[in-house]
C-alpha cells in the first residue's frame, strides 16, 4: 500500500519543473516572502514528515523535526547554493540528520572518545553534493528492490540508514559478526544500485 502511495504521492519525487519551482520559492523566501514559504511547505511537508516519522516512529517527534527543518530553510534560504542540488533533496538531508540526532538523544547514549572513530554512521560520510531527488519511477524500482531484499540484508541496511548506526552498532544490535553485517549491507546496496540501473 505505501508503495502505491509513494508512487502516487507528488512529493515523493520532484519533477524538473518542481525543482525549478523550489528554487524560485527559495529565492523568494530569501527575501522574506512568507507566501513562498507556505508553497514550499505544501509541496514538501509530506516528504519531510514521512522520513522523520520513519526514523523516529513517533508523530510528535516527527512534527518537531518538520518544524525545525522548515525553520532552518527559512533562516538559511539566502545561503542555499542552487548549484549544489535540489532544494527537496537538501531538505531530506536536513530531515534525516536532525531526526537521527533526536533518535540518538532519545537513547541518551553517552558519547565517548573511544567511540568517536566508529560512531560515524554508515551514511553520515556520504558525499553531500549534487543532491537530486529520484524520479517517481526510480523510487518505485528502489522500493521494489528493497522489498525483494532478504530480510537480514534489508534490516541491516535500514538500521544503518534510518537509525544512523555504524557497522559495529548494527552488528551489536543484530548480534551478528561485524564482517557478516558489512557483507549484508554491501550486498543490499549492490541490489539497490542495480535497481536504479547503475553498475
Amino acid at each position: 500500500m505505501w508503495v502505491l502511495l509513494a508512487v502516487l504521492g507528488s512529493s515523493a519525487a520532484a519533477p524538473p519543473e518542481g525543482r525549478q519551482a523550489d528554487q524560485a520559492s527559495l529565492a523568494r523566501i530569501a527575501r522574506g516572502d512568507q507566501l513562498a514559504f507556505a508553497e514550499l511547505y505544501d509541496r514538501h511537508a509530506r516528504l519531510v514528515f514521512s522520513l522523520a516519522l520513519r526514523i523516529l516512529q513517533e508523530r510528535a517527534d516527527a512534527e518537531d523535526i518538520v518544524q525545525e527543518v522548515f525553520a532552518q530553510v527559512w533562516s538559511q534560504a539566502g545561503r542555499y547554493d542552487a548549484s549544489r542540488g535540489a532544494v527537496a533533496a537538501w531538505m531530506l538531508m536536513l530531515t534525516r540528520s536532525r531526526a537521527i540526532d533526536r533518535l540518538r538523544a532519545r537513547r541518551a547514549r553517552p558519547e565517548t572518545a573511544s567511540e568517536s572513530n566508529t560512531a560515524e554512521s554508515v551514511v553520515d560520510s556520504a558525499v553531500r553534493q549534487d543532491l537530486e531527488l529520484l524520479s517517481a519511477e526510480q523510487v518505485t524500482r528502489l522500493q521494489r528492490a528493497l522489498k525483494e531484499l532478504p530480510d537480514a540484508q534489508r534490516t541491516a541496511l535500514e538500521l544503518a540508514y534510518y537509525e544512523g548506526l555504524t557497522h559495529a552498532e548494527v552488528a551489536a544490535r543484530l548480534s551478528e559478526p561485524l564482517g557478516t553485517v558489512k557483507t549484508r549491507i554491501r550486498q543490499a546496496v549492490i541490489k539497490l544500485r542495480e535497481s536504479l540501473g547503475q553498475m
Binding site: 523566501i29 530569501a30 520513519r54 533562516s75 530531515t95 558525499v127 537530486e132 528493497l146 540508514y161 549491507i185
Partner: protein, 232 residues
Amino acid sequence: MDVIRDDDRPELEPPILQGLGQAVPQVDPPLALRARVLESIAGKPAARPAAARPAVWQLATAASLALAAGLGLYTSQLRGRIGVLEDELRDTRARANAADQRVADAQRTAAGAQSSLAVLTAPDVARIDLAGQPPVAPQASARAFWSRSRGMVFTASNLPPLPAGSVYQLWVVTKEPAPLSAGLLTPDAQGGVNETFSTPPDIPQPVALAVTIEPAGGSPSPRGEKYLIGTL
C-alpha cells in the same frame, strides 16, 4: 567502486541515499502542523539574502548610497558647524570692537593724563581757583592749571545741571582784546569736570578765567550769565 571500504567508513552514493529517504511510506502531516510552522517563522526576521554574495553593482550601489548618506550627514554637520562658527565670529567681532573701544578710551584717558601731567609739571604753570557765583552756582568751585607752553588743565565740581539747549563755556580773560574761548565744558552727572585744553602760546597775559552759560554750540564771546570766576 566498493561502497564499503576497508576502513569501516563506508559511503552510500547519493542516488541510494536520496532514494532511501524518498522510499519511506508517505504520510500526510497533521493540518495543524502547517499553521504551527507558518506561525513559527512569521515573527522571525526574514532570511538573509545578503549572505548570498552580492553582485558588484549591488556593492557599488550600496557604497554609493552609503557615500551619499555619509555626504548628506557630513554636509548637514558642516552646515551646523558653519552656523556655530558664524555666531562665534559675530561674537568675536563684537568683543573685538568693544575691546578696540576700550583701548581707544584708555588711550584717550592716557593721553589726557599725559597732557594733564605735562601741564601740571610745566615750569611756567600757574594755578587759578574759581569760585561759584551766586545766585546761579553758589556751591560750584573750580581750579585751573595753566602753562603758556603746554595748555590748561581744568577741574570743576558742583556745577548746576544745565537747561536744555545750553552749554558751559570756559573763557580766558585778557586785558586786550576780548575774552578768548578755551572750549566747552561737559560736566558729568554730579556737575564735575576734568578736562585739558590747549591754549595759543602767543595768548596775551590772562587776568582771569570765567565759565558762562551759552547757547548750544558755544558763543564767539561771552554773553550768558557767569557761573565761575577766578583771577590770576
